[in-house]
């Protein structure tokens, strides 16, 4: 019999430790009564209590929910339409369009942030939550558009012709053919947009007005002058939230894929 090599197991263990040990440390420490992370001071929920009484923090959570919610919604709609039109129409204009859509994917965030800031200032647009949302939409659209476009790889455009042939107008084709068939792509695009918008720091930092800080900005300032254990508690909740969303996403996308 062939001897089983232990090397793959070791590599796997190394990867798991490398990726997940920091998370475990973080989660464990959020329940640590001691302020110093290297000392176990007993189980405690006091950091969570502190977390929920911090008004600034709560406001930034609310801001983040607002920013992420609106920018995901807008960029999903815009990005899906962009993805459809780029894949459907092979005109020269759409080629230009696809280049412009892809640009933010490779452009450094800091460039996007600075240029947005300069743009807002030169047009005398007051920095606020709205400017953050606009900033987030500009780069989220690209991610949604490219995942939707990927869904077109094996797309059978004779379905569109068939729908036209059977009397469906443009709106009906969008709702009854494109949307159900592209739903898995649109969903994963929206997920991607959500994670990107949720943890975006650089662009938010440049476009945020006074008092309009999002969660990442708040965490950053807390690390500088606040208490790290509260951040541990916050991050643990963040992780839990992400896992729940991921679970839902997998459920839904499996169902959508089965339908097609």
């Amino acid at each position: 019999m062939k001897k089983k090599s232990v090397l793959p197991v070791l590599i796997l263990a190394g990867i798991v430790i490398f990726f997940y040990l920091p998370l475990v440390v973080l989660v464990v420490n959020s329940f640590n009564a001691s302020r110093v992370s290297s000392v176990w001071g007993g189980f405690s929920l006091k950091w969570y209590e502190r977390l929920f009484s911090d008004q600034n923090l709560l406001r930034s959570v609310k801001n983040t929910v607002l920013v992420t919610g609106i920018s995901v919604l807008c960029s999903t709609v815009l990005g899906s339409l962009a993805g459809i039109s780029i894949a459907r129409f092979k005109s020269r204009l759409q080629k230009v369009h696809s280049v412009f859509i892809a640009l933010p994917l490779i452009m450094p965030d800091i460039l996007i942030g600075i240029s947005l800031l300069l743009f807002f200032i030169s047009f005398r647009i007051r920095l606020s939550l709205l400017t953050i949302i606009i900033g987030h939409i500009t780069f989220c659209v690209s991610y949604v558009a490219s995942t939707v476009q990927a869904r077109f790889q094996n797309f059978d455009f004779s379905l569109i012709e068939a729908a036209q042939d059977l009397g469906a107008g443009k709106g009906q084709i969008l709702w009854k053919i494109y949307l159900p068939l592209l739903a898995p792509g649109i969903l994963s695009g929206a997920m991607l947009a959500m994670t990107l918008s949720l943890d975006d720091f650089i662009i938010s930092f440049f476009t945020a007005g006074p008092g309009a800080s999002t969660l990442p900005i708040q965490i950053y300032s807390m690390i500088r002058h606040g208490s790290p254990p509260v951040i541990n508690a916050l991050s643990t909740l963040f992780i839990a939230f992400t896992f729940i969303v991921l679970l839902f996403y997998q459920r839904i996308s499996r169902r959508l894929n089965n339908e097609n």
Partner: protein
């Protein structure tokens, strides 16, 4: 009604390639009309123009006297059965079939739609599959759903784009019968595109043979087969032997002509296209029109006789196929077995035989154009492989006219 669907001076180019060249065609109401030709001849483009998926560079399409080119495809009283069926994968069979009724806002109630659906499911005999998704259906079933989805809208014209190409031979023959029945029941005009002459012949009332964006001939299947008007028609529909020859002289009334064929005795042939003496033409002879015998056929007015040697023979049950060497020509002959064969001592390999054919059975046709030949034998033709199982040797036998 005559002139139900009329194509007037249609031209269409893709880039530098002229796919359809000033095409005129008229189709009657209620008939099954086939556009038959090799791939690349423009037949599918013509169909797509009719369905509203392509716009011609010039010309008009009249349906019932009304120009339909200005209508977008979803407003035309025309439905299409697509080559790959294009069933919506995310919908059930019922949802697919009723899609047209639901989106067209005809103000039908759910009950009426239900009734139409039941009737359509009956028509294609797929009641049990109403809730299935297309992925769960076989090719023939998908085909039937595609047809039901189109005819439920009661279009004035049904376009069928190679609807049987993706099915295997047995299923294709069965579906051909079903299509015929459906046509009888719904009475809609069918415009049928195919590269398969067998399909076209068995289903159509009339056929248009297309080649390189032009129509070579329009006629009933028997007209096109029995009286081809061009070398391309003769070669594309059925098997034929071609002989290069020169018109030696005409009979007094000009109806018949005497032909010089290299290495063969002069032959008399019916001259229906008014070829003149001295012209170089193609003589086309269908294999089944030639008689083969061991003995010299009795002298008979109007019979041409060649002498040759059987080079190859294959027994095919209902008939035998012979390849007979006559000088430099290899002539294909089909001999139907009308009587008990084994007693009749049929010609065998290396036997000397007499071939005879009647002067009315040959056609004098204009010479092949070079491109025609390329089209007929193009190995890149995506249907070349499929063609083999439709009928043995349905394309031209190139042996016939090779030196």
């Amino acid at each position: 009604m005559k002139d139900f669907l009329v194509f007037e001076g249609i031209s269409k180019s893709f880039g530098d390639v002229e796919v359809i060249k000033d095409l005129n065609l008229s189709i009657e109401q209620g008939e099954v009309f086939s556009l038959l030709g090799p791939s690349g001849c423009g037949k599918t483009t013509l169909l797509r123009i009719c369905g509203g998926f392509e716009e011609p560079d010039a010309g008009r399409v009249l349906l019932n006297g009304r120009d339909i080119l200005s209508l977008p495809s979803h407003k035309r009283p025309v439905n299409t059965v697509f080559q790959n069926y294009a069933l919506f994968p995310h919908m059930t069979v019922s949802e697919n079939i009723t899609f047209g009724l639901k989106v067209s806002r005809r103000g039908m109630s759910a009950g009426e739609i239900r009734k139409e659906l039941d009737r359509a499911l009956d028509l294609i005999q797929m009641k049990d599959y109403a809730g299935s998704r297309p992925a769960e259906l076989s090719g023939g079933q998908k085909q039937r759903v595609a047809i039901a989805r189109a005819v439920i809208n009661k279009p004035q014209l049904l376009l069928l784009d190679e609807p049987l190409a993706a099915l295997d031979l047995k299923l294709r023959q069965k579906m051909l019968l079903e299509l015929d029945q459906i046509h009888d029941e719904v009475g809609i005009t069918f415009l049928f595109v195919t590269h398969d002459q067998g399909e076209a012949m068995s289903l159509s009332d009339r056929i248009a043979v297309m080649n390189m964006g032009r129509i070579e001939q329009v006629g009933t299947p028997s007209q096109v087969y029995e009286s081809p008007k061009s070398s391309f028609s003769a070669a594309f529909i059925g098997d034929t032997n071609f002989f290069d020859c020169r018109v030696h002289s005409l009979s007094e009334d000009g109806q018949y002509s005497l032909l010089d064929i290299d290495g063969l005795p002069p032959a008399r042939c019916y001259n229906d296209q008014k070829h003149q003496a001295g012209e170089h033409i193609n003589l086309s002879l269908r294999p089944e029109k030639i008689r083969i015998s061991r003995t010299r056929p009795s002298e008979n007015e109007g019979l041409n006789v060649f002498r040759g040697v059987v080079e190859e023979k294959s027994y095919l049950g209902a008939f035998s196929k012979y390849w007979v060497r006559c000088g430099e020509w290899l002539i294909v002959v089909l001999d139907a077995h009308r009587h008990f064969l084994l007693d009749r001592n049929p010609p065998e390999w290396e036997d000397e035989v007499w071939l005879s054919w009647h002067q009315d059975d040959g056609f004098m046709l204009l010479k092949y154009r070079e491109q025609d030949e390329a089209l007929l034998t193009n190995p890149d033709d995506k249907f070349a492989r499929m063609e083999q199982d439709t009928q043995p040797g349905m394309l031209v036998d190139q042996d016939g006219d090779e030196a």
